[in-house]
């Protein structure tokens, strides 16, 4: 069908020439460079209509300070961006509009998809169930290997978005019988107001909320976020300040503080560490990280070592060798952690859950799929040992 519709253009391009359409597009782009009005952007097709509509209804940010000259200081994450009217923060979602700080990533997700909950990765929370994944544009980190950089490094208004509010979320999860909503793919910290809105509408219906986050957030907003969540997978990207600075352009300490705070809040916590060759794959760092996790978060926190693949601006590094991941797993187990997994490698025994006491295979996984779940009311069927996690409602 497309071929018929665009017949004229093809005749032209068949000769390798610039079509009239291209020429007009070229002029349009030239014009839009000077355009500043969102309406104009929308009219020129630079942003979606839904995004235009949503841009008119942002949500006021809860954690910020008003400053002289209608400036604002955002208090959501440790960057604490001070912005003049009309300017957005580093996260690209919170904008100062006439002295009031609004979050534009509200009711306009760019990703809405059903996934296995194991994809976060999250292995000890309703294994084998599906989750409704939600993400908006923007991120407060600048990771060089980001897998979803088109979304995370763009403001919401530049992306194709959906109009999706709390009521619609409730309808969808109930209709599809999805027990959880997951805030993943991009950084939930930048759309925490939206998470609050979705949780407000869906929690009464029994829907649970989980997130995959880098946890680069200030204490008070993090406490608030934890109240809206049932579980979280935190990406602890490395264990050296230098690594965080180089790879993500952000400091490490706020992440460690957040991890301790999450643990105190009582919600279910898992940690994922992407093993990047050359940068954070040395045994000493991994050992120190595992030691810190054990001392500060406990030995029952599941730790996932994920395999790196060349992405975004780190195209020239090879994938992590499997032996490196296996060594990391050994190190973590030797450090006393009870549940250590390997991600992005399948099939591998590192995907499975074993009883820490009797080493019985409890949950057999293949990539993000649960092949079998032998847990009985959260206990090992052989030794009866209690396995930490949220298991009720999980698929057998």
């Amino acid at each position: 069908m497309a071929a018929d519709t665009n017949h004229d253009c093809h005749d032209c391009t068949a000769q390798g020439g610039l079509s009239r359409r291209d020429f007009l597009a070229c002029l349009a782009r030239y014009g839009t460079a000077m355009a500043t009005m969102p309406a104009a952007l929308c009219a020129l097709g630079m942003i979606s209509q839904e995004a235009c509509a949503a841009m008119g209804k942002p949500k006021e940010v809860e954690f910020y300070e008003k400053m002289p000259d209608r400036k604002t200081k955002c208090l959501v994450c440790p960057l604490e961006c001070e912005r003049e009217p009309g300017k957005a923060g580093e996260c690209r979602t919170r904008n100062n509009k006439k002295g009031v700080l609004y979050n534009h990533a509200f009711n306009n997700p760019c990703i809405l998809k059903t996934d296995a909950i194991e994809k976060l990765p999250m292995y000890h929370f309703l294994p084998g169930t599906n989750t409704l994944s939600v993400a908006t544009g923007g991120c407060n980190l600048r990771c060089l290997y980001c897998q979803n950089w088109e979304q995370s490094q763009s403001p919401p208004e530049k992306l194709r978005t959906f109009a999706f509010d709390g009521e619609q979320a409730k309808q969808m999860t109930l209709t599809k019988k999805i027990p959880t909503m997951a805030y993943t793919y991009t950084e939930p910290v930048v759309f925490s107001e939206y998470i609050g809105e979705l949780a407000k509408h869906t929690r009464p219906a029994g829907i649970r909320h989980v997130a995959a986050s880098a946890a680069f957030m200030n204490a008070k907003p993090m406490e608030q976020l934890c109240k809206q969540l049932d579980a979280i997978t935190v990406t602890l990207k490395g264990f050296r300040e230098e690594f965080y600075r180089k790879m993500c352009d952000r400091p490490l300490k706020p992440v460690l503080d957040s991890l301790q705070l999450i643990k105190k809040s009582g919600i279910w916590l898992e940690i994922v560490n992407l093993v990047v060759p050359t940068y954070n794959d040395n045994g000493k760092d991994i050992k120190e990280m595992c030691k810190w996790v054990r001392q500060n978060l406990g030995d029952e926190v599941p730790l996932h070592f994920a395999r790196f693949a060349p992405e975004y601006k780190l195209k020239n590094l090879p994938s992590t060798p499997i032996s490196t991941l296996e060594k990391a797993q050994e190190t973590a187990l030797a450090a006393g952690l009870k549940f250590v997994y390997l991600s992005n490698v399948a099939p591998h025994t590192g995907n499975n859950t074993y009883c820490p006491s009797c080493k019985t295979l409890l949950i057999e996984r293949l990539a993000f799929q649960v092949l079998q779940n032998r847990l009985t009311q959260g206990r090992c069927p052989r030794c009866g040992g209690k396995i930490p996690g949220i298991w009720d409602g999980a698929k057998k």
Binding site: A3, G16, G17, L18, C26, K113, N148, T324, P347, Q369
Partner: protein, 752 residues
């Protein structure tokens, strides 16, 4: 042998050396630019600009020496030494700029480095040429000799130098260049020996010895430099081996049990004896896409275990095509034993040739064509994603045959990534009736003329796996549920279909639109995510506006002059400068268009660069001689301009007429003519300048205009205009511009 002949011999050797050194440095730059052709445009622009600067500086130096004979031996030493330092600079650039491992050089370095690397040599060559003219007292013969040396350099490099270690090659030729200096009167015994004679000769002998020693140690020095380079680029990996081939630079590095392969500085694959997971998933997803395939053509990607997995299927023939034999030779020793065995299997046929030419010229038919090629960030790779190529694949497929390839994507593509993938989808849909895409960080595009041939559901794939009796303990059929997420496939295909309808853009050989888009999603690090394609598009809009406004202005001035019936000398000189700058621009643009055409036909260009440049320079020399013959006639200058306009107008058709097997020769022949026309225009304009007595220094200005035009031509056409506008538009915009200038010139002549 007279002094004059000795002098000319030295200059021939100098031109030969400069040509080889230029080509060596271009290859080093292509590694820095991870194989993209950007380096070519920027480096040629840098070369032209720096030669012009060198000439200008040379004139000042000659004048400051008040007529004394300069010291050619010193210059020769400089010409010989500079490329060695430039080579080291290119290799150590990542160290100097403190580049993070895994990333590429920052944008500032990418823009600066071509000037730093080729600039000093070009500058020295420019100075040497002026000194040569001064010493010889005339330029014509020196031009001829320089062109001959350049031609010889191109041929030497093409047949011998391309696979030699760069340092050895440069040291050896440097040594020969310095030996040629001993032919000069300066180096020969004088009647009354003086201190300067003694110091000069001792210095020369010393320099020859230094180069000889360097040549002796060049292999060790080469290794040291390479190790330093890789130490910065991949500090944790162990450098294992490398190889130069006529298609680029290959290297193998080791990280734990993995052997990682790099081509032109870009990581492209790993081989490991223990890592079965990724290759098993890939192979069993793709090989079940045909229900009963018996012949498979694999373009690239046969060294990482795919061939071994393919042998588990009831395929009678597996044709594995690899462009560069050096890759297989280099990889062989580092492949696990099981891969070597698989490649030795009697069902496996390895073809060392360009995959596209194999498909276009072979009469074989296949059930499955699977290509594992890099992203279309270069013209060489883009030709595997064009409509012409897809049409050729369709011809080579049996009824119900399937084509599969992968492209960088994201689970949810957006912006330029979506635009690029939709472009390829649309191009594929133009040729095949049934097109599908499996989303992921690498999306798979599948196409067949028989609807329903591909297995797009987990159940269907699992059934086919059983039906084809492909047993693999490393793969669990349940993985198909993870690999084929129905919801993701449906939404991704809808997204691509809609974007394809919105944009309706086709990627073709002569209009390789996917290149710029690909650069901004998967190119050199600073371009990725930078909306690079949008910026180049904006730039092209501005450029088109400037060109159109400039042409209107030129016409307006011409009409004004005709009306007033007068023409001032300043205006006449400006006209000459404009014409010469345009001819320089168009000549360089034509050469780049032809280089791209060669690249699209053969898939490589580096080894041919020398021949193309040398033939162009020969044309320039011949043209110069012709120009001198007809100089002084009233309408002499418009003649080469008119011919160039006709040539540019016909060039796209001429390229379209490429004869199958001798296409390369045809393109080389086409490359000669712009050289002749550029060469002829210079003496004609120079003669006209001399007529305009009130303005002095006309020749210098003309040379600067010529070089500036060529520099802009290389930069604009080579860097972005060709992929953005396509060959037809580039040639025709230049032909129209040339026609306007002709009208201008005609009106100017009327008023004189």
């Amino acid at each position: 042998m007279s002094n004059r002949q000795r002098f000319l011999a030295l200059f021939a050797m100098l031109a030969l050396f400069a040509q080889v050194a230029q080509l060596v440095l271009l290859r080093e730059l292509s590694v820095v630019f991870v194989g993209t052709e950007f380096s070519l445009g920027i480096a040629l622009a840098a070369w032209c600009l720096c030669v012009a600067l060198g000439s200008w500086w040379g004139v000042r130096l000659v004048r400051s020496r008040k007529g004394q004979t300069p010291i050619p031996a010193c210059l020769a030493c400089l010409v010989a030494a500079v490329p060695l330092l430039s080579l080291a600079m290119a290799r150590l650039a990542a160290t100097v700029w403190d580049v993070m491992p895994g990333t590429d050089l920052p944008l500032s370095a990418l823009l600066l480095l071509p000037f730093v690397v080729v600039g000093p040599l070009a500058l020295t060559v420019g100075i040497a040429f002026v000194f040569g003219v001064h010493a010889l007292g005339e330029a014509a013969w020196l031009y001829v000799i320089e062109a001959c040396g350049t031609l010889a350099g191109g041929i030497l490099f093409h047949f011998v130098g391309v696979e030699m270690a760069p340092l050895s090659l440069l040291a050896l030729l440097g040594c020969l260049l310095l030996l040629a200096c001993t032919l000069l009167p300066f180096a020969r015994r004088q009647t009354t020996p003086s201190w300067s004679w003694l110091i000069g000769n001792v210095g020369l002998i010393g320099a020859i010895l230094v180069f000889a020693v360097l040549w002796w140690w060049s292999v060790a020095a080469e290794n040291w430099l390479r190790r330093q380079q890789w130490h910065t680029l991949a500090p944790q990996q162990e450098f294992v081996a490398d190889r130069l081939s006529r298609h680029g630079y290959l290297a193998v590095l080791a990280l734990a049990e993995q052997k990682n392969f790099y081509s032109n500085g870009r990581y492209f694959m790993s081989a490991s004896a223990v890592d079965e997971t990724a290759i098993s998933q890939l192979a069993h997803l793709l090989l079940v896409q045909h229900p009963q395939a018996s012949s498979l053509l694999l373009l690239g990607g046969g060294l990482n275990g795919f061939v071994r997995k393919a042998l588990l299927y009831p395929l009678t023939e597996i044709h594995y095509c690899e462009l560069d034999p050096a890759l297989v030779t280099l990889a062989w020793d580092h492949l696990p034993e099981q891969e070597q065995q698989a490649l030795r299997d009697k069902r496996v046929h390895i073809h060392y040739q360009d995959g596209r030419r194999l498909i276009e010229q072979s009469h074989s038919r296949y059930d499955l064509v699977i290509q594992f090629l890099p992203e279309p960030t270069t013209a060489a790779v883009n030709r595997y994603y064009t409509r012409e190529y897809f049409a050729a694949v369709k011809q080579s497929l049996n009824h119900g045959g399937v084509l599969i390839f992968s492209l960088q994507s994201l689970p949810f593509p957006e912006g330029e990534l979506l635009r690029r993938n939709a472009m390829i989808w649309h191009t594929l849909s133009q040729v095949f009736r049934d097109v599908h895409a499996i989303p992921g960080t690498n999306a798979f595009f599948l196409a067949s003329d028989k609807p329903g041939q591909m297995a797009m559901s987990a159940r269907e794939c699992a059934d086919r796996l059983v039906q084809l009796s492909a047993r693999d303990t490393q793969f669990h059929p349940a993985l198909y549920h993870t690999l084929l997420d129905q919801e993701a496939i449906a939404s991704n295909e809808e997204l691509l279909r809609q974007a394809a309808i919105d944009e309706a853009v086709v990627n073709s050989d002569l209009h390789p639109r996917a290149i710029l888009s690909s650069l901004s999603v998967n190119g050199i690090s600073p371009f990725v995510g930078s909306q690079f394609a949008d910026w180049t598009s904006l730039l092209s809009g501005i450029l088109l506006t400037v060109v159109a406004a400039g042409l209107v202005l030129v016409l307006a001035i011409a009409l004004w002059d005709v009306r007033k019936r007068r023409s001032k000398p300043g205006m006449q000189l400006a006209t000459q400068l404009l014409i010469i700058a345009f001819i320089g621009f168009a000549g360089m643009a034509a050469e780049i268009v032809l280089l791209w055409a060669f690249l699209c036909s053969y898939g490589y260009i580096y080894a041919m660069l020398g021949l193309f440049t040398a033939l162009f320079m020969s044309g320039v020399t011949g043209g110069g001689w012709l120009g001198k013959k007809v100089a002084g006639r009233r309408y002499a200058l418009p003649l080469p301009l008119s011919l160039l306009v006709v040539y540019l107008g016909l060039l796209p058709w001429s390229i379209g007429l490429l004869p199958g097997k001798n296409g390369g020769l045809w393109l080389l022949a086409l490359n000669l003519l712009p050289g002749v026309l550029v060469g002829a225009a210079f003496p004609l304009a120079s003669h006209d300048c001399r007529r305009i007595s009130t303005v002095s220094g006309g020749n210098g200005f003309l040379y600067a205009a010529d070089m500036l035009g060529a520099c802009l031509g290389a930069l604009i056409i080579g860097s972005f205009a060709l992929p953005l506008w396509g060959t037809w538009y580039v040639c025709h915009i230049m032909a129209v511009s040339g026609t306007v200038l002709l009208i201008f010139l005609f009106f100017e002549r009327l008023t004189q």
